[in-house]
């Protein structure tokens, strides 16, 4: 039987399309019996969809470091 912790990890991997077929099958079986996990899976999927929808942008660490050094010169 898959534990809830394992199921959560698989669910997270599935959000990034990194779960294997067998993993997904295990998750599906677990979700039938576990209400908490199915709730979590639903919310997790929603989070993924809104992150996609929002078209997030972020600066890479290198860019931030460059910014910091420039800013520190001024300080």
């Amino acid at each position: 039987m898959t534990s809830c912790e394992k199921a959560a990890i698989i669910c997270n991997k599935a959000q990034y399309n990194e779960a294997s077929f067998i993993d997904k099958l295990k998750l599906k079986f677990h979700l039938i019996t576990c209400k908490t996990c199915s709730k979590f899976t639903k919310k997790n999927a929603q989070l993924t969809s809104i992150c996609d929808k929002a078209k997030l942008y972020s600066l890479s660490e290198a860019e931030k470091a460059a910014m910091k050094t420039k800013l520190n010169k001024e300080i």
């Binding site: 809104i50 992150c51 997030l56 910014m67 420039k70």
Partner: protein
């Protein structure tokens, strides 16, 4: 009797006066916001960048604008009164920077006028007015605005995560890096990474629940 009454009144007046004094003091003692330029990049760069990209739709220019915003913030730090939060104040500067950017790019090449090419699509029938009317059922404009606000809300929540979790989450979700690359760069093992992702995602769901909508 009247004399006593008078005194009583005076006393109560005194009381009110001292009360207001205390309150006045309290207001002054309220912790005013202070600027910490050292933490700006870590705390607000992504938030400002997201805002800027939404306005100028060019990552390179947006990055420069954010950098300029930090410089301008530093320069006018003495004008900061502390009644707004740091972020609100920086966003206000960034707004001016965006306006300046458009002003500059327009005046440089004399493109301030709006040109409309009427015959852009050949299948137009020729009824100009009818074709220019906004589509009342279009949800496109609202979607754009809502998504931008959503993006800022998400960034707000990400910035509340612990440093390492937010880093991993951003690399994985926003920059779309592979698990292997992230593990190599941060020197962690995959199971470690997935635990961090899990914590970040759970925290984000909770945070967005509070600040944005029912998730």
């Amino acid at each position: 009797m009247p004399a006593i009454k008078f005194q009583y009144k005076e006393d109560s007046m005194k009381l009110i006066k001292t009360n207001s004094l205390i309150f006045g003091k309290d207001e002054k003692q309220m912790p005013l916001n202070k600027l910490h330029p050292n933490t700006w990049v870590d705390a607000y760069a992504d938030y400002l960048f997201n805002y800027a990209v939404g306005r100028v739709s060019d990552a390179e220019i947006a990055r420069d604008l954010v950098q300029e915003t930090f410089f301008a913030g530093l320069k006018s730090a003495k004008n900061y009164k502390g009644d707004a939060t740091e972020r609100t104040w920086l966003i206000a500067i960034l707004k001016r920077k965006v306006i300046d950017y458009y002003r500059k790019s327009n005046s440089k090449k004399g493109r301030a006028e709006v040109r409309m090419n009427y015959n852009a699509n050949s299948d137009s029938e020729g009824d100009w007015l009818e074709e220019q009317v906004a589509d009342p059922f279009s949800s496109f404009e609202n979607d754009v605005i809502e998504n931008e606000e959503l993006g800022l809300a998400i960034h707000d929540c990400i910035s509340k995560l612990p440093k390492k979790q937010s880093l991993v989450f951003k690399m994985k979700t926003i920059q779309g890096m592979s698990t292997e690359d992230i593990c190599n760069e941060l020197d962690i093992n995959p199971s470690n990474l997935w635990v961090m992702i899990h914590r970040a995602r759970t925290a984000l769901v909770g945070c967005l629940n509070q600040n944005w909508f029912e998730l």
